[in-house]
């Protein structure tokens, strides 16, 4: 006997993601899923953003790594509320991991929640966490051909942050060419070129985050 199913394989994950979204909405929190290769600068971008938004927004972080709590400690030392998830080998975060982490955070003290995904350009893209924004970070030493090699991640991003612009003179990365090829796979994403080291571009990025927070809160 044939049974029609027509259901998304990840529907169980998507349902928990929906619960997360509702919980975050009830606490007026904007969640940002940060995805990149290992070492592209996710933690550094969070630190710079915290500095830029000092006194304007309270930031919490869920740190996803295969193992260790190095990143959460780095953030805690800087005074940021951070909670570490170790996936124990898993290559991405899923909605239930985020759900457990949310239960251990003081949500009333957070305006913006950064969810730092496991460093990986493939696996995180398929898993909805209940976030409002998907942000991809690409650092210049990784090369300007990545959007075509990992199209799903780039095509679904709400923003792309090109990090390590301070290294542009030393690496083979055509910034203008990259911007146009990226726009080829993703028209709607906001684009930022930043340096976590020199601070270039951080103000523009932080302003965009505040704009998004305002629109999430006004329900737009």
């Amino acid at each position: 006997m044939e049974v029609k199913v027509l259901k998304d394989i990840l529907s169980a994950n998507n349902q928990i993601a929906e619960q997360n979204r509702r919980l975050l909405a009830s606490k007026k929190i904007m969640a940002v899923n940060l995805m990149s290769s290992p070492g592209a600068g996710k933690t550094t971008l969070i630190l710079r953003t915290v500095e830029a938004l000092q006194g304007r927004a309270r930031i919490g972080v869920i740190e996803g790594d295969v193992s260790s709590s190095i990143d959460a400690e780095k953030l805690s030392q800087a005074g940021v509320t951070a909670i570490q998830i170790n996936t124990g080998g898993g290559c991405h975060l899923d909605a239930s991991m985020v759900n457990s982490a949310l239960a251990n955070l003081l949500l009333d003290d957070i305006d913006i929640l950064f969810i730092e995904n496991v460093g990986n350009l493939i696996c995180p893209s398929g898993f909805d966490l209940g976030e409002h924004l998907k942000v991809v970070i690409l650092s210049t030493p990784e090369g300007d051909d990545k959007p075509h090699k990992y199209p799903m991640l780039f095509a679904n991003a709400d923003a792309l942050v090109i990090n390590k612009t301070d290294l542009l003179a030393h690496v083979n990365f055509d910034l203008d060419g990259f911007k146009s090829t990226f726009k080829g796979v993703n028209q709607r994403a906001a684009l930022f070129a930043v340096s976590g080291v020199s601070g270039e571009g951080i103000r523009e990025w932080a302003a965009w985050i505040m704009e998004k927070l305002a629109s999430v809160r006004s329900g737009k």
Partner: protein, 113 residues
């Protein structure tokens, strides 16, 4: 590597649907898999064989309908399959594209007894 998580969700979904249909055994599973998901079907196949042991889905034959990525040009509406590292419309050379197929990841049907 996330094929493991995907296969686990697939198996859960298949077993739930089989129970709902009052079936005792799953004979076949038909999956639709878009190219953009990056999921490798033979990994899912191997994982499924291992994970379904001692469940009503043990021995079920998995069939994959692979959906290639497809884009629509926002300028001239031409529909085509982007290839290579430069995704531009073969008709008008515009790079303003919308991906209209290739993100699929669902179970179309199952065959049960």
């Amino acid at each position: 590597m996330h094929e493991m998580a995907v296969t686990m969700s697939l198996l859960d979904l298949v077993l739930k649907e089989a129970t709902r249909a009052g079936a005792s055994r799953v004979v076949a599973v038909n999956v639709v898999l878009g190219e953009m998901t990056g999921i490798v079907d033979h990994c899912v196949q191997t994982n499924f064989e291992l994970m379904s042991r001692n469940t009503p889905a043990e021995g079920a034959v998995l069939s994959f309908r692979n959906v290639p990525k497809q884009a629509r040009c926002r300028k001239c509406a031409h529909v085509f399959q982007p290839t290579g590292i430069c995704w531009t419309c073969p008709k008008c050379q515009s790079a303003e594209l919308e991906i209209i197929a290739g993100n699929e990841l669902y179970v179309e049907s199952i065959e049960v007894e």
